[in-house]
Amino acid sequence: MTRKQKRLAIISGGVAVIGAAVLLVLFALQDQIVYFHSPTDIVEKQIGPDTRIRLGGLVAEKSVVRGTGTKVEFVVTDTANEVAITYTGILPDLFREGQGVIVEGAFEPGNPVFVADSVLAKHDENYMPKEVAESLKAQGVWQGEEK
């Protein structure tokens, strides 16, 4: 092989790999990303069932109900609107009523209850999930400790 051919072989190999990667990324970005919504968004935008979303807000006071076994029901609110959640599993340490939380999951068809498969609370007492803080600010509820 001449020098030119060698170079061509290497470059075309490179282009093939990068092209494949770009295709994969584009495909994955179409299908595998999850949008964040506040309860108000849910009411306004009419999210269809089986679409995976993240939902953030405050856990409504006195809304946490333990069902049988490890099933838990609670309500997430941004003070303007509310969404009922069911979740089966262990809640994070800092999950509390009146505190910020993000749940991920989907609505079931024909059921207004959001079925979460993961629940994220904060890592320490100073931390409010950023998305939640912003959507609460939008509702004028929360004034963060901004400097």
Binding site: L24, V25, I33, F36, G69, I90, E125
Partner: protein
């Protein structure tokens, strides 16, 4: 007084670093020996000064001097001594001090051991290091000064975040920073070469051990962080594709590519320009990681109290260094002479393939990490890019790379024979296939992919062994000669094989956990049992307990196998007194390479408790693999070939034969 002296030393270090940024560059341009001589002296002086400042801060922590604001915010007189000590870097300001200390430590090493570097290269390298030092010292002094005082001093501190009160904090950040900051040396060497417009022969020989050292530390740091998150957060996962994890993983991927391309450059003087670019990219990704973690763009355990001015400041540093380096690269890269030629099928070709896949993979991780930030900035839509994205993009890119790994070391330089190499690997391939089939056959219900995945791991391990065997001449020469050859093999050959083997071990662990782990969430009352893998877990009950600065509720379990008790396990929910913050302490029972992982949930009325039980077969392989990789790095570092002699002062060049040992 020691506090204020430390503060003074820190400012003095900035003055020294500023001089070190300017004088040696002028010296190197004008070939002035005096000005070039300032570089090593200033590098060592800044190291001593910053070390002093760091010690001053540490003394304040150890003696609980709450007149220092940083100590008051992040320490408590009741904390065990080890956490008082590691708490120094358990916060933003202190960890920036550690960052700086490691940065100047590396500069001082170059100054100290740089006798075998041409003076101009050494001056330029140290000057570029000083630019980084000056930028970050200014950042620390203006936005994150750890020596701010409080008067009158409060009587008690606010305590360290309980999640950080763990031995992990003593190891994870220093290792990670050794890696991040170690790549600054590669960056400085790359920029110095661009400034000078030429690459000395000593360049690659110097860059390779630095890359190795940084990579070794980063590998260990990431593995430690992963294990820490695994047992501390109580979520049972070992990698979440969290943006902050990605921030450390991207420099690792780019650094791995750099490690391999520097090899080509050292041996064949090929891929010079690419290696320089990669060195710049690797450190740029480290800076990007620092920015993502420190600016408050992301929220996570790693995001310390956020302050917008800090984010903007780091962004400016980021833009200045990355932009400056790439501009310099664009202007000067063509002045570097191209190097040796090679055929596509050759060791060089294999290493190019490695680089291609690793950098592409880095790019996909980068896209996944930054896409949500960019999208939110442009459209305002908030999205999260989670594990499914990375599994779909990163995964497929890794499989061909892993398949190709055993071929690389067996190919000859310049022009290789793929068919001959394939023949040498038939044993390894056979072993891999056999294991795959065995897994598929014996592990009932195991997906075919799991069998193939474990086969891939075996393929990597067997391939590495084949490499060492072939180099020793197994099957070709008599046993004594084989032994002699084996002993004569360079350390880097063992290091490389060990690292590739570690990769295989990690792959096996990852595949096994992904395919065979079982998870079980149940409510248990005392006396009840549940199943975890081959074991039965019997709940004994909850018992309160007190630690030095926390109270906890321990859940005690007996582990039974075939009805016989084999061990105990304790999981707990802790409440740290000072911050009234609860944490979950997972209970882990290690059995061989497998682990039984138990996390407690909420207490239920009626004496029950929610318990989450995972059975994680071969999970420890993941971290053992990483340890092997790090060990491989260390073994390679001790290769005598990485030590270069300096030319003796008065010797004629043509007869220069050093007594290198």
């Amino acid at each position: 007084m020691i506090v204020e002296l430390g503060h003074y030393a820190l400012i003095m270090a900035l003055a020294t670093a500023l001089l070190q940024s300017v004088l040696p560059i002028i010296g190197a341009r004008t070939r002035d020996a005096g000005l070039m001589g300032v570089a090593p002296a200033a590098a060592i002086a800044s190291f001593v000064l910053i070390l002093f400042a760091f010690v001053a801060l540490t003394v304040s922590y150890v003696t609980s001097d709450f007149s220092v604001k940083n100590v008051w915010e992040n320490s408590h007189s009741m904390m065990p001594m080890i956490y008082k000590f590691s708490g120094v870097w358990g916060n933003h300001e202190g960890s920036m001090m550690l960052w700086l200390l490691i940065l100047v430590f590396f500069s001082a090493l170059v100054a100290f051991f740089g006798g075998n570097l041409p003076a101009t290269l050494k001056s330029n390298v140290l000057a570029v290091q000083a630019w980084i030092t000056s930028a970050f010292l200014t950042f620390v002094l203006l936005t994150s000064n750890p020596f701010q005082r409080l008067s009158p001093a409060p009587l008690e501190g606010r305590d360290l975040n309980p999640i950080l009160q763990d031995i992990g904090l003593a190891i994870h950040p220093p290792m990670l920073y050794l890696g991040y900051v170690g790549f600054s040396i590669c960056f400085s060497f790359a920029v110095a070469a661009l400034i000078d417009g030429r690459i000395d022969a000593a360049w690659a020989r110097w860059v390779r051990p630095w890359t190795l050292a940084a990579w070794t530390a980063l590998t260990a740091g990431i593995a430690m962080g992963s294990y820490w998150a695994y047992y501390e957060l109580g979520w049972g996962g070992w990698w979440f594709w969290d943006p902050v994890e990605n921030a450390s993983f991207m420099p690792w991927l780019a650094g791995t590519a750099l490690l391999h391309s520097a090899l080509v450059m050292e041996k064949r003087e090929a891929l010079k320009i690419w290696t320089i670019l990669l060195a710049i990219m690797t450190f740029s990704l480290s800076l990007l990681g620092t920015f993502l973690v420190r600016s408050g763009v992301l929220t996570s355990v790693h995001a310390f109290a956020t302050d917008p001015t800090r984010g903007i400041f780091i962004l400016c540093i980021l833009v200045a260094f990355i932009g400056g380096a790439f501009t310099l690269f664009a202007l000067r890269a063509q002045t570097l002479s191209p190097g040796g030629l090679f055929a596509p099928i050759s060791r060089e070709g294999a290493l190019v393939l490695n680089n291609l896949f690793l950098t592409t993979a880095t790019a996909t991780v980068l896209v996944g990490t930054l896409y949500p930030l960019v999208l939110e900035a442009i459209t305002g839509a908030k999205i999260s890019v989670g594990p499914p994205f990375f599994n779909l993009t990163f995964g497929p890119l890794m499989i061909p790379l892993l398949l190709a790994v055993p071929f690389g070391p067996l190919l000859a330089w310049k022009r290789g024979d793929l068919w001959a190499v394939t023949q040498r690997l038939y044993m390894a391939a056979g072993a891999a296939l056999l294991v795959s089939l065995a897994v598929i056959y014996f592990a009932t219900g195991a997906p075919v992919m799991a069998g193939l995945g474990i086969g891939l791991g075996v393929w990597l391990i067997a391939g590495s062994l084949t490499d060492i065997a072939m180099r020793s001449g197994v099957g070709k020469v008599a046993l004594p000669i084989m032994w002699r050859r084996f002993k004569g093999l360079p350390r880097s050959a063992f290091g490389g094989a060990l690292a590739h083997m570690g990769l295989g071990v990690s792959v096996i662990g990852i595949v096994a956990v992904t395919a065979f782990a079982t998870e079980n969430v149940v409510t248990m009352k005392p006396g009840e049992t549940t199943v975890g893998g081959p074991f039965t877990l019997q709940f004994e009950g909850l018992k309160p307990n007190t630690g030095p600065n926390y109270t906890e509720l321990q859940g005690r379990f007996i582990i039974l196998r075939d009805g016989q008790p084999v061990s105990h396990l304790t999981a707990a929910k802790r409440v740290f007194t000072a911050r009234q913050m609860p944490t979950t302490e997972a209970g882990i029972y290690t059995n061989g390479a497998n682990q039984l992982y138990v996390a407690l949930g909420d207490e239920l009325p009626g004496g029950g408790v929610v318990v989450r039980v995972w059975w994680k077969p071969w999970v420890t392989f993941i971290w053992f693999g990483a340890i092997f990789m790090s060990l491989g790095g260390i073994v390679s570092l001790f290769d005598r070939r990485l030590r270069i002699g300096a030319p003796a002062k008065s010797r004629a060049p043509a007869v220069a034969v050093g007594q290198e040992t």
